[in-house]
Amino acid sequence: MDMERRNRPALELYVPEPEARPGDEVDFSHIQVPPAGSVPRPDIAVSTESIRDLPYTLIRVLDEEGRATGPWDPRLDADTLRRMLRDMMMVRVFDDRMYRAQRQGKTSFYMKATGEEAIAVAGTHALDREDMCFPTYRQQGILVARDYPLVTMMCQIYSNRGDPLKGRQLPIMYSSREHGFFTISGNLATQFPQAVGWAMGSAISGDSRIASGYIGDGSTAEGDFHAACTFAGVYRAPVILNIVNNQWAISTFSGIAGGQLTTFAARALGYGIPGLRVDGNDALAVYAATRWAADRARSDLGPTLIEFFTYRVEGHSTSDDPTAYRPKGAGEKWPLGDPVARLRQHLTGLGEWDQDRDRQLLEQLDAEVRAAQKKAEKLGTLQSDPYAEIPTMFEDVYAELPWHLREQQAQALAEWEAKRK
């Protein structure tokens, strides 16, 4: 150790901590909420250099009274607004029902999107029906917005004989090419650069469809996030890169992903692409930002990174109990409110909605979900009567069965026979 060294101070490791832990008061005092309508809306052809401040703001349309205000107001007609409200409510009803089904032992696993419904639903309505989405497990709202059959969703969740995925995937890992809903991977973040590749494919082919990728705040730390942003920027891929910042990754708060240092939208600056930061609980802001990004993509102006600022109101999944690592009731105190309530308030203020219609809708959704559940359960549940076509287990590994899978298929069948005896 040289002389100089001895006078150097001892270093210390810094490990970020959230504002509150179990036993503490819920504390959202650090959350800054700029007024709705305060952020300018640039032209889509704007130079990236001139909007370097956007990632540090928060694009909001609905004010505290539920009025739409400012340049980002997408001026949607009442039917579209009602449809969005309906889809968001449907996601919530569906989630509650399936959560309960898991608790009843009917399947192995479930994940809710409570508090985040606006992101998938309003985002999807801002896209064309033929655009391709690369969702995570918390964008069931896309399927709902694109009229995917509830029964089929449930069959997937139950891994029963109606499951289009043949019992292969964990519950909620849906897939539907027809609905522009890319097969969900259990591996986080992998689909984010795939969305970029799909969009590049569209551009290479002179197509007009764009792609929309999703990633969680925690998952932005994966190398895949970096690959997605790098390739999207370099090739001006027609893609929307959505970060759903719900501030938690299982038990880990977003500070461990860098959330205390700057915004996630600011990541865009390093790639020289536009970055928007949006109130994710404001369906109109979600719609407007998505539309802006989609218009850019369609005009060959390249990708947009959007951070949707929201809060994971419930546990990470049915395997998780959030009171082990954060104060109880944090979700209810989230300063950006509830996305369903806010859109409802907006429609009501417009005179396009009221308590009666709301009650009616809720009853109707509940009935729809119950009916679907009954149908789905007739096709089995994981608990009672799961998907069990042994030969299909060997299909789709390759387009055609090679000899070794044919042999194994025969062996598996023989084994199943032996088991019956």
């Binding site: 210390e12 490791l13 490990v15 901590e17 832990r21 192995s108 696993f109 891994s159 029963n160 499951d163 043949k166 019992g167 292969r168 995937q169 964990l170 519950p171 890992m173 991977s185 259990g186 591996n187 986080l188 973040a189 925690g218 998952s219 730390a221 994966e222 190398g223 895949d224 990754a249 299982i250 038990s251 880990t252 461990i256 992903a257 860098g258 395997s319 082990a324 690592y325 994981l382 799961p386 998907y387 069990a388 042994i390 287990m393 060997f394 590994v397 070794h404 899978l405 194994q408 062996q411 598996a412 023989a414 084994e415 199943w416 032996a418 088991k419």
Partner: protein, 337 residues
Amino acid sequence: MTVMNMIQALNSAHRVMMERDAKTVVLGEDVGYFGGVFRVTEGLQKQFGKHRSFDAPISENGIMAVAIGMAAYGLKPIAEIQFADYIYPGFDQIVSEAAKMRYRSAGDWGLSMVIRSPYGGGIFGGQTHSQSPEALFAHVAGIKTVIPSNPYDAKGLLIAAIEDPDPVVFFEPKRIYNGPFDGFYERPVTPWAKHPAAEVPDGHYTVPLGKAAVAREGQEVTILAYGTMVHVAIATAEAQGIDAEVIDLRTIVPVDIETIEESVKKTGRCVVVHEATRTAGFGAELSALVQERCFYHLEAPVARVTGWDTPYPHSLEWAYFPGPVRLGLALKKTLED
């Protein structure tokens, strides 16, 4: 001595080593405040402080890389990969860096570090919470790969791994965290409490790396197994009334060739069993080794009982899992041949 399940035994190994050696640090997704999704690192942050046990960003690549950097500095990191299915983003750092560091620096930087990960199926985790990728690590020179099958071994092997001067990949069969699952999935779950290997010393001890255990003695046929499959092997032998010798490999690289050879030369027959996909799995290596070294003692071909060459399906879990029926059929055939 305390009765422990595997989670408690692994937790105890951490505590013992963190108390003995301030250089031991723990990192991984959700391992800090919360103590890990399987609770293996529970209470470590509280006892040893945030700088000794902390949550990491969701970047298996980064976790591996900074663990390597810490080991190069001189610490002894224990890095958790939340599920073995998620180790691949960190594969390059393990294969190209951890495995080769001592070699390429001619001994300047040996890396004493452990990569722990829950692994294997049997919990209805679907294709991304069930994988057994041990063969991929066995093929890479410069790392050791360990897979315990019970609480006593789990603690002793983990301590040995932490004390080992080389990088060790330590796979924990998650299906047996709470009880010795033997593949008879219709039967009620048994806890570890009733198993002799659940008697675990509270303090420091090691189970040496590279040494197999004879989990059951027998004369008719040798079953080579590790992890969950050890219990499946014993239960199958018992259910079928076969006088099988079950070898619990415990470490697959370096594998305990002496114990294997001795047993197979005695029995003249050998069945290899693992949960991983069959093609180019570690069973192939075992089969090759056995026939290379015991060729003239073998009375039947070495058989492999494995998971199928498909992803691990969710609802067809028990049709995929190499349970007592599959093993039983193979044993029968091997004994008849």
